[in-house]
């Protein structure tokens, strides 16, 4: 019998691994993604593939430079997932270079420079989204009316190539997203009920037949994926629920105070990036707190920031900014919010027996 090096137990392991977690998240994103493809057609599919492909390319380059195992780390699924989330938050007909620059920012700057998987402080997809939004505001707010597959006027595959890679004058009805529209109109002094006349369609926001980013349209499909992840114990309820409650709370309170200025909770919850952010982006384990209590604080703060930015800041959508700001708070939250150690008080002193008795 050969000598077995002394290693500590346990000699049993649960059947879970990083790759499996990433894979489950992608599966949960599939319904919303497929629906986005259906709504926005070939251009969206091509844009999605360009985002994923370029992300993988950048990941491999970085791993090669860092001298790490390309096969192990490319296949861990994290780069694909980052790119996937980025693609879902892009305008569905954005040009190819938006996708490539976005992937580059996400993978190279936000992830690999920090040390790769698990080391980044900020959510890579959101870093890319914010950087793109600030650098290319025109392209990043070019939203279109959905032209679903099989409908008249839906772009063919060749049209799709033309739209994404340029050189095509394909006719689409460009339009502002709901949050953008509300912001502009209310900002110019219009009363909210006039602005919302004929636009208050929660059922459409839920199902997703609305003007939105590639995968943020259907609140319902995103929720289904998110809840499935909770049942699979990939994510816990703490972050999504506290975000949604926080947004709903702020929106309702302000809507009650002045209904002519502040849209109600339904508008905030069901449109824009709320659902995708709450279930899939804020729950990124790397950049969120590790304790349930910390996660609730994180979620509540994030929801508040989303509302504040949407309502009073220059941008109609605040999810990406809110995520990054709360990412920055995560180390602080984790430092101060800890579980109580067995046999000790919260301050870390041994429990007093006399008090116990």
């Amino acid at each position: 019998m050969s000598f077995i090096p002394p290693i500590s137990g346990p000699y049993l392991r649960e059947n879970s691994d990083v790759r499996k977690i990433m894979l489950l998240v992608m599966l949960a994103l599939l319904p919303a993604t497929a629906y986005g493809f259906y709504l926005f057609g070939w251009p969206a599919i091509i844009l999605f593939l360009v985002t994923l492909g370029s992300a993988l390319f950048f990941e491999m380059i970085c791993l090669a430079i860092a001298g790490r195992s390309i096969s192990t780390y490319t296949l861990d699924g994290s780069a694909i997932l980052t790119a996937w989330l980025l693609a879902l938050s892009l305008p569905p007909w954005a040009p190819w270079w938006i996708a490539v620059i976005g992937s580059g920012i996400a993978i190279i700057i936000a992830k690999q420079i920090f040390g790769g998987l698990g080391q980044n402080v900020f959510n890579p997809a959101m870093v890319a989204r914010v950087a793109l939004l600030i650098s290319f505001p025109l392209e990043m707010t070019y939203f279109i009316q959905p032209v679903p597959f099989l409908n008249e006027g839906a772009p063919s595959f060749m049209d799709g190539l033309g739209i994404i890679f340029g050189g095509s004058n394909f006719d689409a009805v460009s339009s502002a997203s709901l949050l953008d529209f509300i912001k502009t109109e209310v900002g110019q002094g219009a009363a909210l009920d006039q602005v919302m006349a004929g636009r208050y369609q929660p059922e459409n926001w839920l199902l997703g037949n609305s003007i939105s980013s590639m995968g943020e349209g259907s609140a319902l499909l995103i929720m289904i994926g998110g809840i499935a992840l909770m049942f699979l114990r990939v994510i816990s309820w703490h972050i999504p629920l506290s975000i949604l409650i926080s947004i709903a709370l702020f929106a309702s309170v302000f809507h009650m105070i002045d209904g002519a200025r502040y849209p109600d909770a339904m508008v905030h919850l069901l449109s824009g990036a709320t659902m995708l952010g709450a279930f899939f982006i804020a729950t990124d384990p790397v950049t969120s707190p590790v304790t349930p209590k910390g996660q609730i604080i994180f979620g509540f703060g994030l929801g508040a920031l989303v509302f504040i930015i949407r309502t009073w800041a220059a941008y109609p959508e605040g999810m990406a900014f809110a995520v990054l700001l709360m990412n920055a708070m995560t180390p602080l939250i984790d430092r101060y919010i800890r579980p109580r150690i067995f046999g000790r008080t919260r301050q870390g002193d041994p429990l007093d027996i006399q008090e116990e008795l």
Partner: protein, 493 residues
């Protein structure tokens, strides 16, 4: 009975079906050689009382306990002491330790045993003394001398004995079989322990995955006042002493304290069974039930084994290996120790010998931590394992100690659950070892400093005295000179 929630923990696949249904094999042949290490317990090693070529009888004292925390060792069978010297033992270091090798004569002839005690009439002190003389130690694996724990009543106000029959480690079924097959003896042992501790209440805690053991024990416990059998949830690490007490009483043992601070003492089921033998029959601890299991073992089962039996003897009895085991362990798969070599002997704390296949261990490459928080959720001690590991990786051991490294019980729930397959327990054990060594080093340096300081003080004192003496001499000389000059002057005048 109302139970209390404990924090964290994991639901493990029990894998007890490999051995749980099989009767304990009692009539093993005696091995050709028995290797009996002098250190089979926590505390000072026992000191051999025999010499090479001595003939010893079964049950004869062959090594005596030294000091307050130690345990004597008895000959497991009759025979000749062949050798006393270094021999491989089940220690992760793989280093050999002082061992007495006994060549059995096959007669298995008992020595004269002390008289049985009747717990009804014997005093608490007599019972504890008997347990001490019998060399009984905690048989769940901790191997703390049992008599020391039975004497806790001298310093603590005790009111309850908890018998740990949780057996929360996967694969192990030796406690299960003792409870199923010898419930009456075990409960008699519990009764004797209650007498020694001076408590009127005992709880026997058995995990819900052992209904047969529960019913068997409950049937016999009914005859005794004050003994209650409780089924506790099968959730690892239920068998951790402090967590079991919390599940049963709702009370938390203070950090760095003992359950005795809560008036509770915990003993293992197998220990109760051994104490039965010592009290009712005067038998020392020379054999125990061992689970031999794992899918690399051809015929897994429970065996009643003499202390000192080489593991290779046991694996041969089990028909050998189905495949080359990936890992040999002493104890359970969660907290057991790797066995460096198949020749090492069974000791008093060996609850199981496991030979695990590659498929069972599922060893996989470690990935970076993705901060999923799984380890935080399962840690029964309320620690943040991922942060501890990060600090230890950066060699910040003081930082790790500050956030609770020493409160870690090493249960391994965090490593079990970790999707990045990080060897978290390995980090913690390394850091604990380093901290201990640093502490010892610091103490040594302090001691040296005190010695050096006092030496310097002494030197200075000597110097001072010498200087004084010198000054005095000088003064005297000067005085004498003056006097002489005065005298000379007088004379000249």
């Amino acid at each position: 009975m109302k139970l209390f929630r404990i924090r964290g923990g994991v639901n493990l696949e029990g894998r007890k079906e490999l051995t749980a249904h099989k009767d304990v094999i009692l009539d093993l042949v005696i091995p050709d050689l028995l290797h009996i290490p002098v250190q089979q317990h926590i505390g000072t090693p026992a000191a051999p009382l025999v010499e090479v070529d001595d003939y010893v009888l079964k049950g004869q004292l062959i090594a005596d306990g030294i000091g307050s925390v130690s345990a004597p060792i008895h000959a497991p069978t009759s025979g000749i002491i062949l050798r006393i010297g270094e021999y491989p033992v089940a220690h992760p270091s793989g280093l050999p330790a002082l061992t007495m090798t006994l060549e059995p004569d096959g007669l298995d002839k008992w020595c004269e045993l002390p008289k049985p005690l009747d717990p009804e009439t014997a005093s608490a002190k007599e019972i504890a003394e008997r347990v001490s003389e019998a060399g009984i130690v905690g048989m769940g694996g901790a191997t703390f001398p049992s008599a020391v724990k039975l004497n806790l009543g001298e310093h603590y106000n005790l009111d309850m004995l908890v018998i740990n029959g949780a057996e929360c480690e996967p694969y192990l079924t030796c406690d299960d079989r003792i409870m199923r097959d010898r419930p009456e003896m075990t409960i008699k042992g519990v009764k004797a322990m209650m007498k020694a501790l001076g408590v009127s209440k005992a709880l026997i805690a058995i995990e819900k995955n052992k209904p047969e053991a529960f019913h068997a024990m409950e049937k016999y416990a009914a005859d005794y006042e004050g003994i209650t059998v409780v089924d506790v949830p099968a959730r690892y690490p239920m068998g951790s002493e402090k967590h079991l007490v919390q599940a049963l009483t709702g009370r938390e043992t203070p950090a760095a304290g003992l359950t005795a601070d809560l008036s509770v003492v915990v003993h293992n089921v197998a220990t109760a069974f051994a104490i039965y033998g010592a009290v009712y029959h005067g038998r020392p601890l020379i054999s125990r039930v061992v689970t031999v299991s794992g899918r690399a073992i051809k015929k897994p089962g429970n065996y009643y084994v003499l202390i000192g039996t080489p593991i290779s003897f046991l694996t041969d009895i089990c028909g050998g290996f189905t495949e080359k085991p990936k890992q040999l362990l002493m104890g359970g798969p969660m907290m057991g120790q790797p066995i460096p070599n198949i020749v090492v002997p069974i000791i008093k704390g060996s609850s199981g010998i496991l030979a695990l296949t590659e498929a069972e261990i599922k060893e996989r490459r470690a990935m970076p931590c993705i901060r999923c928080g799984g380890c935080v959720a399962v840690c029964p001690c309320g620690l943040v394992p991922l942060e501890l590991a990060a600090l230890i990786r950066h060699d910040d051991l003081t930082g790790a100690a500050k956030i609770g490294l020493k409160d870690c019980v090493g249960c391994g729930s965090c490593s079990y659950i970790c999707p990045a397959h990080l060897p978290l327990v390995q980090y913690f054990n390394y850091a604990k070892g380093r901290l201990k060594a640093d502490e010892a080093n610091r103490k040594k340096q302090e001691k040296t400093k005190i010695l050096v300081d006092s030496k310097n003080l002494r030197k200075e004192e000597i110097k001072r005295i010498r200087m004084e003496k010198f000054a005095k001499q000088k003064a005297e000389a000067a005085k004498a000179k003056l006097e002489k000059e005065a005298k000379d002057a007088e004379e000249t005048l």
